[in-house]
Symmetry: C2
Subunit: 329 residues, 2 copies
Protein backbone atom coordinates (compact mmCIF):
# COMPACT_ATOMS: atom_id res chain seq x y z
CA UNK A 1 0.00 0.00 0.00
CA UNK A 2 1.51 3.36 -1.02
CA UNK A 3 1.55 6.53 1.01
CA UNK A 4 -0.14 8.72 -1.63
CA UNK A 5 -3.87 9.05 -0.95
CA UNK A 6 -6.02 8.88 -4.09
CA UNK A 7 -8.84 11.38 -3.99
CA UNK A 8 -11.85 12.23 -6.08
CA UNK A 9 -13.16 15.53 -4.81
CA UNK A 10 -13.76 19.05 -6.12
CA UNK A 11 -13.50 22.58 -4.84
CA UNK A 12 -17.20 23.46 -4.92
CA UNK A 13 -16.60 26.96 -3.60
CA UNK A 14 -14.05 29.06 -1.75
CA UNK A 15 -13.88 32.44 -0.08
CA UNK A 16 -11.40 34.62 1.72
CA UNK A 17 -11.00 37.73 3.84
CA UNK A 18 -7.71 39.62 4.25
CA UNK A 19 -6.15 42.69 5.86
CA UNK A 20 -4.92 46.00 4.47
CA UNK A 21 -1.36 44.94 3.61
CA UNK A 22 -2.63 41.91 1.69
CA UNK A 23 -5.14 44.08 -0.17
CA UNK A 24 -2.35 46.51 -1.04
CA UNK A 25 -0.26 43.65 -2.48
CA UNK A 26 -0.16 42.27 -6.03
CA UNK A 27 -3.16 39.96 -5.45
CA UNK A 28 -5.23 42.71 -3.78
CA UNK A 29 -8.17 42.98 -6.19
CA UNK A 30 -8.57 39.21 -6.26
CA UNK A 31 -9.58 38.86 -2.60
CA UNK A 32 -13.26 38.59 -1.71
CA UNK A 33 -13.12 40.83 1.35
CA UNK A 34 -10.63 43.10 3.05
CA UNK A 35 -10.60 45.45 6.02
CA UNK A 36 -8.54 48.63 5.96
CA UNK A 37 -7.72 48.61 9.69
CA UNK A 38 -7.34 44.80 10.11
CA UNK A 39 -9.87 44.91 12.97
CA UNK A 40 -12.99 43.68 11.23
CA UNK A 41 -15.04 45.68 13.70
CA UNK A 42 -13.78 43.77 16.73
CA UNK A 43 -12.16 44.93 19.97
CA UNK A 44 -9.24 42.46 19.91
CA UNK A 45 -6.95 41.05 17.21
CA UNK A 46 -7.94 37.53 18.24
CA UNK A 47 -11.63 38.30 17.71
CA UNK A 48 -10.78 39.97 14.39
CA UNK A 49 -9.10 36.74 13.29
CA UNK A 50 -12.16 34.70 14.29
CA UNK A 51 -14.35 37.13 12.39
CA UNK A 52 -12.25 36.66 9.24
CA UNK A 53 -12.80 32.89 9.47
CA UNK A 54 -16.53 33.37 9.91
CA UNK A 55 -16.70 35.76 6.95
CA UNK A 56 -14.54 33.61 4.66
CA UNK A 57 -16.68 30.55 5.40
CA UNK A 58 -19.95 32.44 4.95
CA UNK A 59 -18.63 33.93 1.71
CA UNK A 60 -17.76 30.49 0.32
CA UNK A 61 -21.22 29.21 1.26
CA UNK A 62 -22.99 32.24 -0.19
CA UNK A 63 -21.28 31.93 -3.60
CA UNK A 64 -23.08 28.62 -4.14
CA UNK A 65 -26.19 29.44 -2.13
CA UNK A 66 -25.27 26.82 0.45
CA UNK A 67 -26.25 26.84 4.13
CA UNK A 68 -24.58 25.56 7.29
CA UNK A 69 -26.72 22.40 7.21
CA UNK A 70 -25.35 21.54 3.75
CA UNK A 71 -21.89 20.97 5.26
CA UNK A 72 -21.21 17.63 6.98
CA UNK A 73 -18.03 18.55 8.81
CA UNK A 74 -15.60 21.42 9.31
CA UNK A 75 -11.82 20.95 9.41
CA UNK A 76 -10.34 24.11 10.86
CA UNK A 77 -7.26 25.47 12.55
CA UNK A 78 -5.01 28.45 13.03
CA UNK A 79 -1.76 29.54 14.68
CA UNK A 80 -3.10 30.84 17.97
CA UNK A 81 -2.59 29.10 21.31
CA UNK A 82 -5.29 26.43 21.65
CA UNK A 83 -6.45 27.30 18.08
CA UNK A 84 -8.99 29.81 19.34
CA UNK A 85 -9.24 31.63 16.00
CA UNK A 86 -11.16 28.66 14.64
CA UNK A 87 -13.12 27.51 17.71
CA UNK A 88 -14.51 31.00 18.37
CA UNK A 89 -14.91 31.91 14.70
CA UNK A 90 -16.89 28.81 13.75
CA UNK A 91 -18.84 28.39 17.00
CA UNK A 92 -22.54 28.63 16.28
CA UNK A 93 -22.43 27.00 12.82
CA UNK A 94 -23.80 23.77 14.32
CA UNK A 95 -21.54 21.70 12.09
CA UNK A 96 -19.40 18.74 13.20
CA UNK A 97 -15.98 20.22 13.94
CA UNK A 98 -12.50 18.70 13.71
CA UNK A 99 -9.88 21.06 15.12
CA UNK A 100 -6.48 20.90 13.44
CA UNK A 101 -3.03 22.14 14.20
CA UNK A 102 -0.51 22.10 11.38
CA UNK A 103 0.91 25.61 11.79
CA UNK A 104 1.03 27.26 8.33
CA UNK A 105 0.31 23.86 6.71
CA UNK A 106 -3.19 23.69 8.20
CA UNK A 107 -4.88 24.65 4.92
CA UNK A 108 -3.36 21.63 3.17
CA UNK A 109 -4.15 19.35 6.09
CA UNK A 110 -7.79 20.48 6.21
CA UNK A 111 -8.33 20.16 2.45
CA UNK A 112 -6.84 16.64 2.57
CA UNK A 113 -9.13 15.47 5.37
CA UNK A 114 -12.22 17.16 3.89
CA UNK A 115 -11.44 15.47 0.54
CA UNK A 116 -11.00 12.07 2.20
CA UNK A 117 -14.41 12.45 3.86
CA UNK A 118 -16.23 13.40 0.63
CA UNK A 119 -14.31 11.00 -1.63
CA UNK A 120 -15.44 8.12 0.58
CA UNK A 121 -19.00 9.37 0.89
CA UNK A 122 -18.90 10.02 4.62
CA UNK A 123 -20.48 13.41 4.03
CA UNK A 124 -21.63 15.00 0.77
CA UNK A 125 -19.76 18.24 1.46
CA UNK A 126 -17.10 19.27 3.96
CA UNK A 127 -15.28 22.52 4.55
CA UNK A 128 -11.70 23.44 5.40
CA UNK A 129 -11.19 26.84 7.06
CA UNK A 130 -7.97 28.46 8.28
CA UNK A 131 -6.68 31.87 9.28
CA UNK A 132 -3.83 33.91 10.63
CA UNK A 133 -3.61 37.54 11.76
CA UNK A 134 -0.38 39.49 11.82
CA UNK A 135 -1.18 41.26 15.08
CA UNK A 136 -2.39 38.20 17.02
CA UNK A 137 0.38 35.91 15.74
CA UNK A 138 3.28 38.34 16.08
CA UNK A 139 2.50 39.15 19.70
CA UNK A 140 2.12 35.48 20.50
CA UNK A 141 5.26 34.26 18.73
CA UNK A 142 7.52 37.28 19.06
CA UNK A 143 6.66 40.79 20.30
CA UNK A 144 3.58 43.00 20.46
CA UNK A 145 3.47 44.87 17.15
CA UNK A 146 3.31 48.20 18.98
CA UNK A 147 6.99 47.71 19.90
CA UNK A 148 7.98 48.12 16.27
CA UNK A 149 10.82 45.62 16.77
CA UNK A 150 13.39 45.36 14.02
CA UNK A 151 13.01 42.25 11.88
CA UNK A 152 15.81 40.07 10.50
CA UNK A 153 16.20 39.63 6.71
CA UNK A 154 15.05 35.98 6.80
CA UNK A 155 11.89 36.69 8.79
CA UNK A 156 8.53 36.30 7.11
CA UNK A 157 5.48 38.50 7.57
CA UNK A 158 2.45 36.75 9.07
CA UNK A 159 -0.43 37.24 6.67
CA UNK A 160 -3.68 38.72 7.95
CA UNK A 161 -6.16 36.53 6.15
CA UNK A 162 -8.54 33.62 6.21
CA UNK A 163 -9.55 31.14 3.55
CA UNK A 164 -12.46 28.71 3.40
CA UNK A 165 -12.96 25.83 0.97
CA UNK A 166 -16.15 23.84 0.38
CA UNK A 167 -15.24 20.40 -0.89
CA UNK A 168 -17.43 17.72 -2.40
CA UNK A 169 -18.47 16.04 -5.61
CA UNK A 170 -18.55 19.00 -7.97
CA UNK A 171 -19.33 19.45 -11.67
CA UNK A 172 -16.95 19.13 -14.61
CA UNK A 173 -15.76 22.74 -14.60
CA UNK A 174 -14.51 22.67 -11.02
CA UNK A 175 -10.95 22.13 -9.88
CA UNK A 176 -10.47 18.49 -8.84
CA UNK A 177 -8.45 17.26 -5.88
CA UNK A 178 -6.76 14.13 -7.20
CA UNK A 179 -4.22 13.05 -4.60
CA UNK A 180 -2.65 13.91 -1.27
CA UNK A 181 0.51 12.93 0.54
CA UNK A 182 0.70 13.76 4.25
CA UNK A 183 3.88 15.35 5.47
CA UNK A 184 6.19 13.83 8.08
CA UNK A 185 7.57 15.80 11.01
CA UNK A 186 11.15 16.70 10.07
CA UNK A 187 13.62 18.56 12.29
CA UNK A 188 17.00 19.41 10.77
CA UNK A 189 18.23 21.42 13.73
CA UNK A 190 17.24 24.98 12.73
CA UNK A 191 16.54 26.93 15.93
CA UNK A 192 16.18 30.48 14.58
CA UNK A 193 12.47 31.25 14.84
CA UNK A 194 13.08 34.19 12.50
CA UNK A 195 14.08 31.80 9.73
CA UNK A 196 11.13 29.48 9.34
CA UNK A 197 11.87 29.05 5.63
CA UNK A 198 15.07 27.19 6.49
CA UNK A 199 13.23 25.02 9.01
CA UNK A 200 10.40 24.15 6.62
CA UNK A 201 12.31 23.59 3.36
CA UNK A 202 13.65 20.13 4.36
CA UNK A 203 10.13 18.96 5.29
CA UNK A 204 8.73 20.15 1.96
CA UNK A 205 11.65 18.52 0.12
CA UNK A 206 10.96 15.24 1.96
CA UNK A 207 7.30 15.25 0.86
CA UNK A 208 8.01 16.31 -2.74
CA UNK A 209 10.73 13.70 -3.26
CA UNK A 210 8.56 10.96 -1.77
CA UNK A 211 5.72 12.07 -4.03
CA UNK A 212 7.74 12.12 -7.24
CA UNK A 213 9.29 8.72 -6.44
CA UNK A 214 6.01 7.02 -5.55
CA UNK A 215 3.98 8.60 -8.37
CA UNK A 216 6.71 8.15 -10.97
CA UNK A 217 6.19 11.74 -12.11
CA UNK A 218 8.68 14.60 -12.32
CA UNK A 219 8.46 18.34 -11.62
CA UNK A 220 8.23 19.38 -15.29
CA UNK A 221 4.98 17.41 -15.72
CA UNK A 222 3.13 19.97 -13.63
CA UNK A 223 2.11 23.46 -14.80
CA UNK A 224 2.69 24.82 -11.33
CA UNK A 225 4.39 23.59 -8.18
CA UNK A 226 3.57 25.98 -5.38
CA UNK A 227 4.64 25.80 -1.76
CA UNK A 228 3.01 27.74 1.01
CA UNK A 229 4.75 29.32 2.65
CA UNK A 230 8.52 29.03 2.46
CA UNK A 231 9.07 32.63 1.39
CA UNK A 232 12.14 33.74 -0.58
CA UNK A 233 14.63 32.15 1.83
CA UNK A 234 12.90 28.78 2.12
CA UNK A 235 12.11 28.58 -1.60
CA UNK A 236 15.76 29.04 -2.55
CA UNK A 237 16.80 26.41 0.01
CA UNK A 238 14.15 24.04 -1.36
CA UNK A 239 15.54 24.41 -4.90
CA UNK A 240 19.01 23.49 -3.60
CA UNK A 241 17.76 20.53 -1.54
CA UNK A 242 15.69 19.16 -4.41
CA UNK A 243 18.69 19.39 -6.73
CA UNK A 244 20.69 17.23 -4.32
CA UNK A 245 17.95 14.60 -4.67
CA UNK A 246 18.10 14.89 -8.47
CA UNK A 247 14.99 17.01 -9.06
CA UNK A 248 15.17 20.42 -10.75
CA UNK A 249 12.47 22.91 -9.84
CA UNK A 250 12.15 25.16 -12.88
CA UNK A 251 10.17 28.28 -13.76
CA UNK A 252 6.99 26.40 -12.83
CA UNK A 253 7.93 26.60 -9.12
CA UNK A 254 6.88 29.43 -6.82
CA UNK A 255 5.63 30.01 -3.27
CA UNK A 256 2.50 31.58 -1.76
CA UNK A 257 4.66 33.69 0.56
CA UNK A 258 6.44 35.14 -2.48
CA UNK A 259 3.24 35.90 -4.42
CA UNK A 260 1.23 37.67 -1.74
CA UNK A 261 3.41 40.76 -1.18
CA UNK A 262 5.39 43.07 -3.46
CA UNK A 263 9.05 42.57 -2.56
CA UNK A 264 10.02 46.05 -3.75
CA UNK A 265 7.13 48.11 -2.41
CA UNK A 266 6.10 46.21 0.74
CA UNK A 267 8.57 45.79 3.57
CA UNK A 268 8.02 42.10 4.27
CA UNK A 269 11.61 40.80 4.01
CA UNK A 270 11.47 37.05 3.20
CA UNK A 271 7.78 37.09 2.17
CA UNK A 272 4.50 36.06 3.74
CA UNK A 273 3.66 33.24 6.13
CA UNK A 274 0.85 32.05 8.40
CA UNK A 275 -2.12 29.72 7.90
CA UNK A 276 -3.89 32.55 6.10
CA UNK A 277 -1.10 32.92 3.52
CA UNK A 278 -1.53 29.71 1.53
CA UNK A 279 -5.28 29.69 2.21
CA UNK A 280 -5.83 33.15 0.78
CA UNK A 281 -3.42 32.70 -2.17
CA UNK A 282 -4.97 29.32 -3.03
CA UNK A 283 -8.53 30.64 -2.91
CA UNK A 284 -7.89 34.02 -4.54
CA UNK A 285 -5.24 33.16 -7.10
CA UNK A 286 -4.39 29.49 -7.78
CA UNK A 287 -7.92 28.07 -8.00
CA UNK A 288 -9.32 30.95 -10.12
CA UNK A 289 -6.32 30.65 -12.46
CA UNK A 290 -6.97 26.92 -12.74
CA UNK A 291 -10.62 27.54 -13.55
CA UNK A 292 -9.39 29.91 -16.28
CA UNK A 293 -7.16 27.04 -17.53
CA UNK A 294 -3.94 29.02 -16.96
CA UNK A 295 -2.75 26.05 -14.88
CA UNK A 296 -4.19 22.59 -15.44
CA UNK A 297 -2.11 20.32 -13.22
CA UNK A 298 -0.81 21.73 -9.95
CA UNK A 299 1.14 20.47 -6.95
CA UNK A 300 0.41 22.44 -3.78
CA UNK A 301 2.56 21.81 -0.70
CA UNK A 302 1.36 23.55 2.45
CA UNK A 303 4.27 23.87 4.86
CA UNK A 304 4.30 24.48 8.59
CA UNK A 305 6.88 25.20 11.31
CA UNK A 306 5.63 23.41 14.42
CA UNK A 307 7.60 25.12 17.17
CA UNK A 308 6.24 27.22 20.01
CA UNK A 309 7.99 30.23 21.59
CA UNK A 310 8.45 28.12 24.75
CA UNK A 311 10.34 25.39 22.92
CA UNK A 312 12.66 27.95 21.29
CA UNK A 313 13.35 29.50 24.71
CA UNK A 314 14.15 26.01 26.01
CA UNK A 315 16.79 25.65 23.28
CA UNK A 316 14.90 23.21 21.08
CA UNK A 317 15.03 23.31 17.29
CA UNK A 318 12.06 23.63 14.93
CA UNK A 319 10.17 20.57 13.63
CA UNK A 320 8.39 21.22 10.34
CA UNK A 321 5.95 19.55 7.95
CA UNK A 322 4.74 19.78 4.35
CA UNK A 323 1.34 18.42 3.24
CA UNK A 324 1.09 17.83 -0.53
CA UNK A 325 -2.02 17.95 -2.71
CA UNK A 326 -2.47 17.48 -6.47
CA UNK A 327 -5.11 19.58 -8.22
CA UNK A 328 -6.32 19.13 -11.80
CA UNK A 329 -8.80 20.82 -14.09
CA UNK B 1 -27.24 11.48 4.70
CA UNK B 2 -26.99 11.24 8.48
CA UNK B 3 -24.34 12.75 10.68
CA UNK B 4 -23.27 9.48 12.35
CA UNK B 5 -20.19 8.02 10.67
CA UNK B 6 -20.32 4.23 10.26
CA UNK B 7 -16.97 2.63 10.96
CA UNK B 8 -15.46 -0.81 10.72
CA UNK B 9 -12.16 -0.66 12.55
CA UNK B 10 -10.50 -2.32 15.52
CA UNK B 11 -8.15 -1.35 18.31
CA UNK B 12 -5.16 -3.46 17.28
CA UNK B 13 -3.05 -2.25 20.18
CA UNK B 14 -2.77 0.51 22.75
CA UNK B 15 -0.26 1.79 25.24
CA UNK B 16 0.09 4.49 27.85
CA UNK B 17 2.51 6.27 30.14
CA UNK B 18 1.46 8.26 33.22
CA UNK B 19 2.82 10.24 36.16
CA UNK B 20 3.08 9.53 39.87
CA UNK B 21 -0.37 10.78 40.91
CA UNK B 22 -2.05 8.68 38.23
CA UNK B 23 -0.05 5.63 39.28
CA UNK B 24 -1.10 6.24 42.88
CA UNK B 25 -4.77 6.35 41.85
CA UNK B 26 -7.30 3.52 41.61
CA UNK B 27 -6.20 2.54 38.07
CA UNK B 28 -2.48 2.64 38.97
CA UNK B 29 -1.48 -0.99 38.38
CA UNK B 30 -3.27 -1.02 35.02
CA UNK B 31 -0.99 1.54 33.34
CA UNK B 32 1.84 0.32 31.10
CA UNK B 33 4.43 2.82 32.32
CA UNK B 34 4.78 5.44 35.02
CA UNK B 35 7.45 7.78 36.29
CA UNK B 36 7.72 8.63 39.97
CA UNK B 37 8.96 12.20 39.43
CA UNK B 38 6.84 13.02 36.33
CA UNK B 39 10.03 14.06 34.49
CA UNK B 40 10.68 10.99 32.36
CA UNK B 41 14.36 11.82 32.45
CA UNK B 42 13.93 15.18 30.70
CA UNK B 43 15.02 18.69 31.68
CA UNK B 44 11.65 20.39 31.02
CA UNK B 45 7.99 19.46 31.62
CA UNK B 46 7.28 20.01 27.93
CA UNK B 47 9.97 17.53 26.92
CA UNK B 48 8.68 15.09 29.54
CA UNK B 49 5.24 15.30 27.91
CA UNK B 50 6.74 14.62 24.47
CA UNK B 51 8.65 11.68 25.92
CA UNK B 52 5.41 10.20 27.30
CA UNK B 53 3.86 10.35 23.82
CA UNK B 54 6.91 8.69 22.31
CA UNK B 55 6.88 5.96 24.96
CA UNK B 56 3.12 5.33 24.74
CA UNK B 57 3.31 5.01 20.96
CA UNK B 58 6.35 2.74 21.06
CA UNK B 59 4.68 0.62 23.75
CA UNK B 60 1.55 0.18 21.62
CA UNK B 61 3.70 -0.82 18.64
CA UNK B 62 5.85 -3.20 20.68
CA UNK B 63 2.86 -5.11 22.08
CA UNK B 64 2.05 -6.31 18.56
CA UNK B 65 5.61 -6.36 17.25
CA UNK B 66 4.81 -3.50 14.86
CA UNK B 67 7.29 -0.95 13.51
CA UNK B 68 6.97 2.70 12.48
CA UNK B 69 6.72 1.69 8.80
CA UNK B 70 3.64 -0.42 9.58
CA UNK B 71 1.67 2.73 10.42
CA UNK B 72 0.24 4.79 7.53
CA UNK B 73 -0.58 7.96 9.40
CA UNK B 74 -0.46 9.49 12.86
CA UNK B 75 -3.26 11.64 14.29
CA UNK B 76 -1.88 13.43 17.30
CA UNK B 77 -2.46 16.43 19.52
CA UNK B 78 -2.16 17.85 22.99
CA UNK B 79 -3.01 20.91 25.10
CA UNK B 80 0.21 22.86 24.72
CA UNK B 81 0.55 26.04 22.70
CA UNK B 82 1.13 25.05 19.06
CA UNK B 83 0.66 21.38 20.10
CA UNK B 84 4.37 20.89 20.66
CA UNK B 85 3.91 17.84 22.89
CA UNK B 86 2.96 15.86 19.78
CA UNK B 87 5.19 17.46 17.13
CA UNK B 88 8.33 17.04 19.22
CA UNK B 89 7.33 13.68 20.69
CA UNK B 90 6.56 12.02 17.36
CA UNK B 91 9.25 13.73 15.26
CA UNK B 92 11.59 11.11 13.85
CA UNK B 93 8.96 8.39 13.38
CA UNK B 94 8.89 9.12 9.64
CA UNK B 95 5.13 8.61 9.53
CA UNK B 96 2.60 10.89 7.81
CA UNK B 97 1.41 13.25 10.54
CA UNK B 98 -1.93 15.02 11.01
CA UNK B 99 -1.78 17.46 13.92
CA UNK B 100 -5.02 17.89 15.84
CA UNK B 101 -6.35 20.33 18.38
CA UNK B 102 -9.48 19.31 20.24
CA UNK B 103 -8.39 20.18 23.79
CA UNK B 104 -9.24 17.22 26.07
CA UNK B 105 -11.38 15.71 23.26
CA UNK B 106 -8.33 15.08 21.05
CA UNK B 107 -8.23 11.36 21.84
CA UNK B 108 -11.76 10.91 20.47
CA UNK B 109 -11.03 13.09 17.44
CA UNK B 110 -7.86 11.16 16.61
CA UNK B 111 -9.48 7.73 17.00
CA UNK B 112 -12.34 8.87 14.74
CA UNK B 113 -10.03 10.07 11.96
CA UNK B 114 -7.72 7.04 12.24
CA UNK B 115 -10.79 4.77 12.02
CA UNK B 116 -12.12 6.63 8.97
CA UNK B 117 -8.75 6.15 7.24
CA UNK B 118 -8.55 2.41 7.93
CA UNK B 119 -12.27 1.69 7.40
CA UNK B 120 -11.96 3.13 3.90
CA UNK B 121 -8.68 1.38 3.15
CA UNK B 122 -6.60 4.54 2.82
CA UNK B 123 -3.97 2.96 5.06
CA UNK B 124 -3.90 -0.49 6.62
CA UNK B 125 -3.10 0.87 10.09
CA UNK B 126 -3.18 4.34 11.63
CA UNK B 127 -2.39 5.59 15.11
CA UNK B 128 -3.95 8.17 17.42
CA UNK B 129 -1.67 9.61 20.10
CA UNK B 130 -2.43 12.25 22.74
CA UNK B 131 -0.98 13.56 25.97
CA UNK B 132 -1.19 16.10 28.75
CA UNK B 133 1.15 16.91 31.61
CA UNK B 134 0.03 18.58 34.81
CA UNK B 135 3.10 20.76 35.12
CA UNK B 136 3.23 21.95 31.49
CA UNK B 137 -0.52 22.52 31.23
CA UNK B 138 -1.05 24.20 34.60
CA UNK B 139 1.68 26.78 34.00
CA UNK B 140 0.35 27.49 30.55
CA UNK B 141 -3.31 27.77 31.48
CA UNK B 142 -3.05 29.06 35.04
CA UNK B 143 0.01 29.39 37.29
CA UNK B 144 3.40 27.71 37.61
CA UNK B 145 2.87 24.74 39.93
CA UNK B 146 5.68 25.95 42.22
CA UNK B 147 3.32 28.74 43.36
CA UNK B 148 1.08 26.20 45.08
CA UNK B 149 -1.96 28.33 44.22
CA UNK B 150 -5.23 27.43 45.89
CA UNK B 151 -7.68 25.65 43.61
CA UNK B 152 -11.45 26.13 43.47
CA UNK B 153 -13.81 23.20 44.21
CA UNK B 154 -14.94 22.90 40.57
CA UNK B 155 -11.42 22.82 39.14
CA UNK B 156 -10.12 19.63 37.60
CA UNK B 157 -6.62 18.23 37.86
CA UNK B 158 -4.76 17.97 34.56
CA UNK B 159 -3.67 14.37 34.15
CA UNK B 160 -0.01 13.60 33.50
CA UNK B 161 -0.37 10.89 30.92
CA UNK B 162 -0.25 9.87 27.29
CA UNK B 163 -2.19 7.25 25.37
CA UNK B 164 -1.57 5.73 21.95
CA UNK B 165 -3.94 3.61 19.88
CA UNK B 166 -3.10 1.53 16.82
CA UNK B 167 -6.20 1.18 14.68
CA UNK B 168 -6.89 -1.09 11.73
CA UNK B 169 -8.62 -4.23 10.60
CA UNK B 170 -8.11 -6.45 13.63
CA UNK B 171 -9.14 -10.01 14.52
CA UNK B 172 -12.37 -11.16 16.14
CA UNK B 173 -11.24 -10.76 19.74
CA UNK B 174 -10.40 -7.08 19.41
CA UNK B 175 -12.60 -4.17 20.41
CA UNK B 176 -14.37 -2.79 17.33
CA UNK B 177 -14.99 0.86 16.55
CA UNK B 178 -18.49 0.88 15.06
CA UNK B 179 -19.55 4.50 14.74
CA UNK B 180 -18.56 8.09 15.41
CA UNK B 181 -20.38 11.37 15.69
CA UNK B 182 -18.27 14.53 15.56
CA UNK B 183 -19.01 17.17 18.16
CA UNK B 184 -20.16 20.69 17.36
CA UNK B 185 -18.63 23.77 18.97
CA UNK B 186 -21.06 24.85 21.70
CA UNK B 187 -20.68 27.93 23.90
CA UNK B 188 -23.29 28.41 26.62
CA UNK B 189 -21.61 31.42 28.21
CA UNK B 190 -19.50 29.81 30.95
CA UNK B 191 -16.41 31.97 31.46
CA UNK B 192 -14.89 30.41 34.58
CA UNK B 193 -11.80 28.57 33.38
CA UNK B 194 -11.79 26.74 36.72
CA UNK B 195 -15.11 25.14 35.86
CA UNK B 196 -14.51 23.37 32.59
CA UNK B 197 -17.05 20.69 33.48
CA UNK B 198 -19.84 23.25 33.28
CA UNK B 199 -18.53 24.53 29.94
CA UNK B 200 -18.21 21.06 28.42
CA UNK B 201 -21.40 19.38 29.68
CA UNK B 202 -23.71 21.18 27.17
CA UNK B 203 -21.48 20.15 24.25
CA UNK B 204 -21.48 16.51 25.39
CA UNK B 205 -25.24 16.65 25.88
CA UNK B 206 -25.65 18.04 22.35
CA UNK B 207 -23.66 15.14 20.85
CA UNK B 208 -25.33 12.44 22.96
CA UNK B 209 -28.85 13.65 22.22
CA UNK B 210 -28.12 13.91 18.50
CA UNK B 211 -26.65 10.40 18.60
CA UNK B 212 -29.59 8.79 20.41
CA UNK B 213 -32.09 10.53 18.11
CA UNK B 214 -30.32 9.61 14.87
CA UNK B 215 -29.43 6.06 15.91
CA UNK B 216 -32.81 5.36 17.47
CA UNK B 217 -31.09 3.90 20.53
CA UNK B 218 -31.36 4.87 24.18
CA UNK B 219 -28.87 5.09 27.06
CA UNK B 220 -29.91 1.81 28.70
CA UNK B 221 -28.95 -0.16 25.58
CA UNK B 222 -25.27 0.41 26.34
CA UNK B 223 -23.27 -1.36 29.05
CA UNK B 224 -21.25 1.77 29.63
CA UNK B 225 -21.54 5.42 28.67
CA UNK B 226 -18.33 7.17 29.57
CA UNK B 227 -17.42 10.81 29.06
CA UNK B 228 -13.90 12.12 29.22
CA UNK B 229 -13.46 14.34 30.99
CA UNK B 230 -16.30 16.22 32.62
CA UNK B 231 -15.25 15.38 36.17
CA UNK B 232 -17.72 15.30 39.08
CA UNK B 233 -19.13 18.78 38.36
CA UNK B 234 -19.63 18.31 34.62
CA UNK B 235 -20.99 14.77 34.98
CA UNK B 236 -23.70 15.91 37.37
CA UNK B 237 -24.60 18.80 35.04
CA UNK B 238 -24.72 16.39 32.11
CA UNK B 239 -27.19 14.15 33.95
CA UNK B 240 -29.45 17.15 34.55
CA UNK B 241 -29.18 18.42 30.95
CA UNK B 242 -29.88 14.98 29.49
CA UNK B 243 -32.95 14.63 31.70
CA UNK B 244 -34.33 17.88 30.26
CA UNK B 245 -34.05 16.27 26.81
CA UNK B 246 -35.82 13.15 28.07
CA UNK B 247 -32.83 10.84 28.49
CA UNK B 248 -31.93 9.31 31.84
CA UNK B 249 -28.29 8.44 32.40
CA UNK B 250 -28.33 5.55 34.87
CA UNK B 251 -25.72 3.55 36.75
CA UNK B 252 -24.08 2.74 33.41
CA UNK B 253 -22.81 6.34 33.13
CA UNK B 254 -19.45 7.52 34.43
CA UNK B 255 -16.56 9.78 33.45
CA UNK B 256 -12.83 9.25 32.87
CA UNK B 257 -12.05 12.23 35.12
CA UNK B 258 -13.96 10.53 37.95
CA UNK B 259 -12.30 7.13 37.52
CA UNK B 260 -8.66 8.17 37.37
CA UNK B 261 -8.22 9.61 40.90
CA UNK B 262 -9.43 8.62 44.36
CA UNK B 263 -11.79 11.37 45.50
CA UNK B 264 -11.14 10.67 49.18
CA UNK B 265 -7.38 10.10 49.20
CA UNK B 266 -6.18 12.31 46.32
CA UNK B 267 -6.74 16.06 46.46
CA UNK B 268 -8.02 16.60 42.93
CA UNK B 269 -11.31 18.40 43.63
CA UNK B 270 -13.64 17.88 40.61
CA UNK B 271 -11.59 15.03 39.10
CA UNK B 272 -9.12 14.65 36.26
CA UNK B 273 -8.90 16.39 32.90
CA UNK B 274 -6.53 16.86 29.98
CA UNK B 275 -5.94 15.00 26.71
CA UNK B 276 -4.09 12.35 28.68
CA UNK B 277 -7.06 11.65 30.96
CA UNK B 278 -9.47 9.98 28.55
CA UNK B 279 -6.55 8.53 26.53
CA UNK B 280 -5.00 6.80 29.54
CA UNK B 281 -8.34 5.65 31.03
CA UNK B 282 -9.51 4.31 27.66
CA UNK B 283 -6.29 2.41 27.02
CA UNK B 284 -5.70 1.17 30.56
CA UNK B 285 -9.23 0.49 31.76
CA UNK B 286 -12.12 0.62 29.25
CA UNK B 287 -10.56 -1.36 26.40
CA UNK B 288 -9.08 -4.07 28.66
CA UNK B 289 -12.45 -4.41 30.44
CA UNK B 290 -14.13 -4.75 27.05
CA UNK B 291 -11.67 -7.43 26.01
CA UNK B 292 -12.57 -9.21 29.27
CA UNK B 293 -16.27 -8.89 28.25
CA UNK B 294 -17.14 -6.79 31.32
CA UNK B 295 -18.56 -4.21 28.90
CA UNK B 296 -19.69 -5.23 25.42
CA UNK B 297 -21.26 -2.09 23.98
CA UNK B 298 -19.83 1.25 25.01
CA UNK B 299 -20.38 4.92 24.16
CA UNK B 300 -17.29 7.05 24.69
CA UNK B 301 -17.62 10.84 24.44
CA UNK B 302 -14.33 12.72 24.55
CA UNK B 303 -14.99 16.28 25.64
CA UNK B 304 -12.87 19.39 25.26
CA UNK B 305 -12.94 23.02 26.45
CA UNK B 306 -11.54 25.07 23.57
CA UNK B 307 -10.62 28.32 25.32
CA UNK B 308 -7.18 29.83 25.74
CA UNK B 309 -6.01 31.90 28.72
CA UNK B 310 -5.92 34.95 26.39
CA UNK B 311 -9.58 34.60 25.47
CA UNK B 312 -10.58 34.32 29.14
CA UNK B 313 -8.57 37.47 29.94
CA UNK B 314 -10.39 39.21 27.09
CA UNK B 315 -13.71 38.37 28.74
CA UNK B 316 -14.80 35.67 26.30
CA UNK B 317 -16.66 32.55 27.38
CA UNK B 318 -15.60 28.95 26.77
CA UNK B 319 -16.58 27.05 23.60
CA UNK B 320 -16.60 23.28 24.07
CA UNK B 321 -16.97 20.10 22.08
CA UNK B 322 -17.76 16.40 22.55
CA UNK B 323 -16.69 13.71 20.04
CA UNK B 324 -18.66 10.46 20.34
CA UNK B 325 -17.52 6.94 19.47
CA UNK B 326 -19.28 3.57 19.77
CA UNK B 327 -17.18 0.54 20.68
CA UNK B 328 -18.33 -3.08 20.59
CA UNK B 329 -16.81 -6.45 21.37
Amino acid sequence: MGNIIKLNASFISYGNAVGKKEYDGPLGPRFDMHCTDDRYGKATWESAESEMQRLAFNCALAKKNLKFEDIGALFAGDLLNQCVGSAYGLCGCNIGYYGLYGACSTCGEGITLASVFTTHGIYERCAAVTSSHNASAERQYRNPIEYGSQRTPTSQWTVTGAGAFIIGDGDAGMVKIRAALPGRVIDKGINDCNNMGAAMAPAVCDTLVRFFRESGTSPEEYDLIITGDLGYEGASILRALMAIDGYTLGENYTDCGILIYDKRLQDTHAGGSGCGCSASVLSAYILPEMRARVYKRVIFVASGAMMSPDMIKQGESIPAIGHLLVFEV
